[in-house]
Assembly symmetry: C2
Homo-oligomer: 217 residues x 2
Amino acid sequence: MDEFTVTERTRAKRLFSRARYDRQTVYAILDAGLVCHIGYEIDGQPYVTPTAYWREGDKVYWHGSAASRMLRHQASGAPLCLTVSHLDGFVLARSGFHHSVNYRSVMILGEAKVVEVEADKIERMKVFIDGIFPGRWDELRPITAKEVKATTVLYIDLDEVSAKIRTGMPVDDEEDYQWPCWAGVVPVETRTGEPQPCPRLPAGIDPPAYLDKLRLG
Amino acid sequence: MDEFTVTERTRAKRLFSRARYDRQTVYAILDAGLVCHIGYEIDGQPYVTPTAYWREGDKVYWHGSAASRMLRHQASGAPLCLTVSHLDGFVLARSGFHHSVNYRSVMILGEAKVVEVEADKIERMKVFIDGIFPGRWDELRPITAKEVKATTVLYIDLDEVSAKIRTGMPVDDEEDYQWPCWAGVVPVETRTGEPQPCPRLPAGIDPPAYLDKLRLG
């Protein structure tokens, strides 16, 4: 199946041309990011928490402290929304009304499930670290049983999913194209900078090559 | 008042040292961003929608199509959460457990209110556009009554608010500092690129100077 099934909740209600439901698009948007925003409700109040995530196949994982109220709530099976968005540009039109932004986003609806088995939890964290910094997991001081226990690893199935994308130039009213103000796109990108070594790093340890290849957004 | 009142819902439950409640910090984090993530619930399902926002004093505004189901729901006075986050860096520790990210975030709880008066709506949109592109509003084809009517402008009061910040180097277990792997921070920044003019731009219109001064994140 190359397309996610559209449900009443994921069906675009407006701006249909921006909606995407194919796996390739959803995967690409998810894989370009590091931090998602998870929405959940406690006692009638919605909360939105920025959280690092990673994807494996049709599952999106996140993790945190087993002591976290947020994670305990999420782990209870309450309905969630996990949203990933990338801002790609300012879109400057001839009218305020047609100003916009270029972006890519994915919204996932569902419930969190808990990774219970210790070996699975460790493997998931290895995939997370190595997915960003290939080979780093085996360079690290090995994880301890206590650390595994203190960490909750959750996932949501990619099942009820939609993506939205806006690209390209402003779309103005036909009669406005000659209006004498600048119009176009100012691209926005996320970049990584020069690695800053920890002051307590022992002498002779150079930044690993994988830091040059970090890509985000 | 330079501090927001801490409530049971905004009080940090863990990682107390990362929590901030002072206006200066909250304002700075909000003013550095363009897109927030708004959480709300419809029929028992949380949704998180990326949305452009702007701040004026102790109000945070956003807007959208009056035809949007999301905005109509938000305008109904249902509880919301509006979160802004900036990713500032990867934090690479000697153990997987102490890996982290540097970030700044703000979470606002409350209900949306609607800007009802036409002149107010127009002024708010002018502030929004000019806040990003100083002077642009007066360069644009003037907004029409129909466009104002088709736009819903909402705001939330900065009242129940918290910020969280992580900065600086990894914090490892004392016995791990000599572990022979690279540790430190890889900074992450958001940058704007070279303006791309609309292909239908009349000849002789150069990119305005305010495009050189765009700052995000």
